[in-house]
């Protein structure tokens, strides 16, 4: 007998108080794999992403931000003013309903609303609470406000990105905002499994700073062991040459090429037509090529400027040399490999016309993602959630509505 494929997170219920980048990106994995996610937000203090450009046609509106839209598909939105004295009537029901509470406020905020872990477990002893913050729930800097851009600096990525003869250019944007969500998902799924085995919930304290450092741990060991502070080095490598980003035919077009082994070097030379300089002594071995990398790069570029980045990537890859177009936004939206995996999809949207969403970035071969549902308008599902999910009586719902609690 073949059982019908279940949705992976079928039956998992998430009371989602996260906002901005990290929390919503993490919770989307659950939404796209079948969990019920109720995102609780307020027009009085909207998710900052709802206020951030780009807006379709540059027309500003809480339901018009692409930045919000692409991170919040497949979630339901309940509008709630947490500062209202009667908000507790709703949050209590949400806590009773939920398996997981996710939040991303500055540490301390949940306590002010009586929603801290210690209070919540009194209502639901086996709840899992995921708290993600800049620097963790404890410690002298826990209340220091911030966001992904400066945190990328604190986590070490800014200092090591750029050219040795220049100040740091910095890793792009709120780089750590794309590391922490991966750890948030790891934490919540692990806690769900622990709860399945033991019946116990728990509080997960995820510092986005600490997550960022995980990616750099060998560099940190180089300091704790060797006392070395790693420095910016452009696109140079210790173990490959040519290794760089080379200008190609067209305006601001580039191809990345990385040649590690002797075999790859010979293939590379063949692709570019075995010019005389390939045979020169100064490029004979990897050691020589590393030593003369600057001159080598210039010579490589004399060839690449005559060809398109796409052509170079195809020729190099066919010859077994790692190469890739330095893709801009138009390129990666149309990249056939990312398309194959459904990295982006467009959903109709009543305010934006269409909204481009970004799928969570893993493929499970037997349990596909659920059908895409457009991101919610603020408070769009308040009534549905209150009545259908939370079993709230009509009179109470109307009274809360008239009391401006759902704002």
């Amino acid at each position: 007998m073949i059982a019908q494929t279940k949705k992976l997170f079928e039956g998992v219920r998430i009371f989602d108080l996260t906002w901005t980048g990290v929390g919503p990106t993490a919770i989307k994995y659950f939404a796209e794999y079948g969990a019920q996610v109720v995102k609780v937000e307020s027009s009085l203090r909207p998710d900052p992403l709802r206020t951030l450009p780009p807006f379709v046609d540059n027309k500003v509106g809480l339901d018009r931000s692409q930045t919000y839209g692409r991170k919040n598909n497949n979630k339901l939105s309940l509008a709630l003013n947490l500062n209202h004295p009667r908000a507790k009537e709703v949050t209590r029901r949400l806590i009773e309903w939920a398996d997981v509470i996710a939040e991303a406020f500055a540490p301390g905020a949940m306590k002010r609303w009586g929603l801290n872990y210690e209070e919540v477990v009194k209502i639901k002893p086996d709840i899992i609470m995921m708290s993600t913050s800049m620097q963790g729930q404890t410690g002298p800097a826990s209340s220091h406000p911030g966001y992904g851009y400066p945190l990328t600096s604190l986590s070490g990525f800014t200092y090591i990105t750029g050219w040795p003869d220049r100040p740091p250019a910095g890793a792009f944007g709120p780089f750590t905002d794309f590391i922490a969500p991966l750890y948030c998902v790891v934490a919540v799924v692990s806690a769900l499994d622990y709860k399945r085995r033991t019946g116990k919930g728990q509080h997960l304290d995820i510092s986005q700073y600490e997550c960022g450092l995980q990616f750099l741990s060998p560099m940190i060991l180089d300091y704790t062991v060797n006392g070395r502070e790693f420095q910016r080095r452009g696109n140079r490598s210790d173990c490959a040459a040519p290794h760089g980003v080379y200008r190609c035919l067209g305006d601001d077009r580039w191809c990345a090429i990385a040649v590690f082994t002797e075999e790859e070097w010979h293939s590379f030379c063949k692709v570019i037509g075995n010019p005389k300089w390939c045979k020169e002594h100064r490029f004979a071995t990897l050691k020589d090529r590393l030593k003369n990398a600057g001159e080598l790069d210039k010579l490589v570029e004399t060839w690449t400027v005559e060809h398109t980045a796409e052509e170079i990537m195809a020729l190099m890859q066919a010859a077994g040399v790692a190469a890739g177009v330095v893709e801009n936004s138009e390129d990666f939206v149309n990249d056939p490999q990312l398309k194959h995996y459904g990295a982006f999809f467009t959903v109709p949207h009543p305010e934006m016309g269409t909204c481009t969403c970004q799928a969570s970035t893993v493929r499970l071969t037997k349990t596909p993602k659920v059908e895409p549902i457009r991101p919610p308008l603020l408070g769009e599902h308040t009534e549905l959630v209150c009545k259908k999910f939370l079993g709230m009586p009509e009179e109470q719902y109307v009274s809360l509505l008239l009391g401006n609690v759902f704002t």
Partner: protein
């Protein structure tokens, strides 16, 4: 969160066989740090990944790679030649008692060895096969080669990184593969979650290109909403709709700090606090004092105004060290952090308070090494790195003899045939 040792860890019941190279090492580390029994399976003589630097005291040696140390904490290690049928047979025996296999070979390679998902699931239908590859198990780039630089290029992140007047530039220390490694860990856990409900394992397919792509952040949004191609701006940020450009990385006395006047209600208190602080030290910020910060928006002011705001801000930052600026920002609630180096991290009071640094003994080096500890804290379970990375074949006897039941004699025979140990020439 207390620091007492709790008996069962989050992933205690699970056994993981880790065949991955640098593309997927982080996956097994994450699972191991959370309590899974992760066995690194290397080829006889040791994995080539051990040749990746930096090295302990800069000595190039497969037992001294700090890269290896960093991404193999909490793992045990055995050696096995899975290219030979006899080795494959032993691997299948291991699979019978395992929950997860992590691999990062070229797509199709495991199938050729009879160790692809269809082969492994015959031995153990509950097995999860987690594959990390450059571009995924399917699609037109499936067989393409990659490197840190090439994955960053094709993820869309490289184009927007670097100074405007120079070529795109990568993060100098390679991190592209860590996205895939962490993605593989969460995918593995999702597959385990499903298996524990249905009894059915599956293959998890992660790609270095795709898993790094989200780090292009709102570049996709600018394209989708306005067909604007976002370009690299070095230490500046730009609003592509108005062309307004403003600084985010600033020189200070002994390095760099990151700050910009964040718009809207989110940034108001921070902006006000910084202006107050700059004013207290005698720089001319009078013109900014009464600004209606909750309404501040880079889209609504002129470039001249931006430049005017940045002048005293730059002078103020230049007059202080990273440490002074961080301490003041923490105290005053300014959304500013320094561009930290490892030295700054090790000196962080916050990380010390949270016991983020763990020390592991390396008896064979006669050294104790300081590591970043596990990736998060949990109230019910201990999350800490548990042991240093394995030496080559360190747990061969423990696993082959005690756990698989091979006799010492059989082990010697396997050694002679080059199945477990490299035959010395």
């Amino acid at each position: 969160m207390d620091s007492e040792q709790k008996s069962e860890r989050m992933l205690s019941p699970y056994r993981v066989l880790d065949l991955a190279d640098e593309k997927g090492l982080l996956c097994g580390k994450i699972l191991g740090d959370l309590g899974a029994d992760v066995i690194k399976v290397e080829k006889p003589g040791g994995d080539p990944t051990r040749n990746i630097g930096p090295f302990y005291k800069d000595i190039r040696d497969p037992e001294k790679s700090l890269y290896w140390f960093a991404f193999n904490t909490s793992k045990r290690g055995i050696t096995l030649n899975i290219k030979k049928p006899e080795g494959q047979g032993i691997f299948k025996k291991l699979v019978e008692k395992a929950d997860v296999v992590i691999e990062s070979f070229s797509p199709g390679y495991m199938d050729k060895l009879g160790l692809g998902y269809s082969g492994l699931s015959k031995m153990n239908p509950r097995i999860i096969l987690t594959s990390v590859s450059p571009f995924g198990q399917e699609g037109p780039y499936r067989d393409y080669k990659t490197s840190d630089l090439v994955s960053t290029a094709l993820s869309g992140v490289l184009y927007i990184t670097g100074d405007a007047d120079r070529p795109p530039v990568r993060i100098s220390f390679p991190v592209a593969y860590q996205f895939a490694g962490a993605e593989a860990a969460l995918g593995t856990l999702m597959a385990l979650y499903y298996r524990n409900i249905t009894g059915e394992g599956q293959q998890v397919d992660t790609s270095t290109q795709w898993s790094m792509n989200p780090a292009q952040y709102d570049v996709i949004g600018w394209w989708a909403a306005l067909k604007k191609i976002y370009k690299r701006q070095g230490p500046f940020l730009i609003r592509p709709n108005t062309g307004i450009i403003f600084r985010q990385h600033w020189p200070c006395k002994d390095g760099y700090v990151t700050f910009y006047y964040f718009g809207g209600p989110t940034g108001a208190a921070s902006n006000r606090a910084l202006v107050q602080w700059i004013g207290e030290e005698g720089f001319d910020v009078a013109f900014m004092k009464d600004r209606d910060w909750p309404k501040f928006d880079y889209a609504l002011i002129s470039q001249e105004e931006v430049n005017r705001m940045e002048k005293p801000t730059a002078e103020f930052f230049k007059s202080h060290t990273k440490k002074e600026l961080l301490a003041g920002a923490t105290k005053r609630g300014v959304m500013l952090y320094p561009a930290a180096t490892p030295k700054d991290m090790l000196e962080s009071e916050q990380l010390a308070f949270r016991k983020y640094w763990a020390k592991l003994e390396h008896p064979e080096l006669g050294a104790e090494i300081t590591y970043p500890d596990a990736c998060f804290k949990a109230s019910e379970t201990t999350c800490t790195i548990r042991r240093r990375a394995p030496l080559i074949g360190e747990h061969n006897e423990e696993i082959y003899q005690k756990e698989l039941g091979f006799s010492a004699k059989e082990l010697v025979a396997l050694k002679k045939r080059g199945i477990i140990y490299r035959i010395k020439k």
